[in-house]
């Protein structure tokens, strides 16, 4: 953790495989000297829309949401994502200011590297550049796909989609504590809070899910899949 450490912690970081696979030990050591780790508590903002982009950030642990504020002041959630899926904000290479905000949905740890350093690596190391481009492309693809998928669904299909998303992509478990409010779900899938709740109640009534406050258990995964697809 310390700059004078003989052994660099970055060398063993799980993230190394994801974007830093093409860096040799010297480069990793250098990365280590340029990086900073920061903790964010649930609810804290990691990036703020409009702020100047000076760092390359990636999520080491935790859970975050990417969102923006519409002209009318409402929040629009773009995606919710786990470590390794979230490599900084997109647009670090296309914009000089953040277009979206990022905040922590669970306590999170973020690695922060000066953007100039990353850009330097990018220019020098073709393999690293390719890896990073691929990663960024995948993230963008995923967001676009998700948004298009949601758009074509009706209300109950969307709620089913969100439940499946948390079960399969985020928690990998049929029972989980949902890290977002009902309103945030609504902002994510583009519908009113009241109707999100109503739909959840319907699912509960039909025995598809069980709800205890923030804890949700998927009882009939299959039925949920069908609703999401047909939606």
């Amino acid at each position: 953790m310390n700059k004078t450490d003989k052994y660099c912690v970055c060398a063993n970081c799980d993230f190394r495989e994801v974007v830093f696979a093409h860096l040799d030990d010297v480069a990793i050591q250098e990365l280590c000297n340029h990086k900073d780790e920061m903790s964010f508590r649930k609810g804290e903002i990691i990036n703020r829309e409009g702020e100047k982009i000076t760092n390359f950030k990636y999520l080491k642990s935790g859970l975050v949401k990417l969102y923006r504020r519409t002209s009318s002041g409402e929040e629009q959630v773009i995606t919710i994502t786990r470590p390794f899926e979230f490599v900084s904000n997109m647009s670090i290479f296309s914009e000089d200011r953040y277009k979206y905000s990022v905040s922590a949905l669970e306590d999170s740890v973020v690695c922060i590297v000066k953007l100039d350093f990353i850009k330097g690596l990018f220019l020098k190391n073709g393999g690293f550049a390719m890896g990073l481009l691929t990663k960024i492309s995948k993230i963008n693809d995923k967001i676009i796909n998700q948004t298009l998928d949601i758009r074509q669904k009706n209300l109950i299909g969307r709620v089913a989609f969100v439940l499946l998303y948390f079960t399969k992509e985020i928690y990998n478990s049929l029972i989980f504590d949902i890290p977002v409010s009902r309103k945030e779900i609504a902002d994510y899938i583009g519908m009113s809070t009241a109707n999100v709740i109503r739909t959840l109640s319907d699912f509960k009534r039909e025995g598809i899910i069980k709800v205890f406050g923030k804890t949700i258990e998927i009882v009939d995964l299959n039925k949920l899949e069908i609703i999401s697809k047909r939606g």
Copy 2:
């Protein structure tokens, strides 16, 4: 145009500024030898969803739409774009098969370069890599933003948005021949064909636009902007 030509046409291509700015004359000559130009007539398909990606393609002239087919068989238009905005399909670096189809809305000319050659350049030339990443990021950003913008609008706001998009981004003129059917507009902004038409008729009745078949004239740009924003 011929591989033995002393003078390479790529050297003077407008596109050179856009993604090939960092290539010297030798590399450009090489590019020239690896590239192919292809014409597509209005309606023809340039890339097909699911097909293997083997080429890097960019639009030299014309107009295209990027779209996919939903599980229920309907078309979902992702974006409509002019030359220089469309650098191949996205996902050339993240997928090995096209996720979306691209077809020509007007007669179009596409430049085709073997993807391997582009990847080679990318690995060797940091400046080129950075330029390409930036370009791809911008395109992705634009699509995501557009999709989010559309999502938050109501029906009439969306139709106003499309009209403004054609006027300002595509044709740069208050009067233009709309290159898409009413149904395609509907697939683009996610609403029914009947309601697109109805809304256009409303705009016509209110004197905001004039419509003569495929030709549309924006009469009251200001009012359209207001409707789009408020939508």
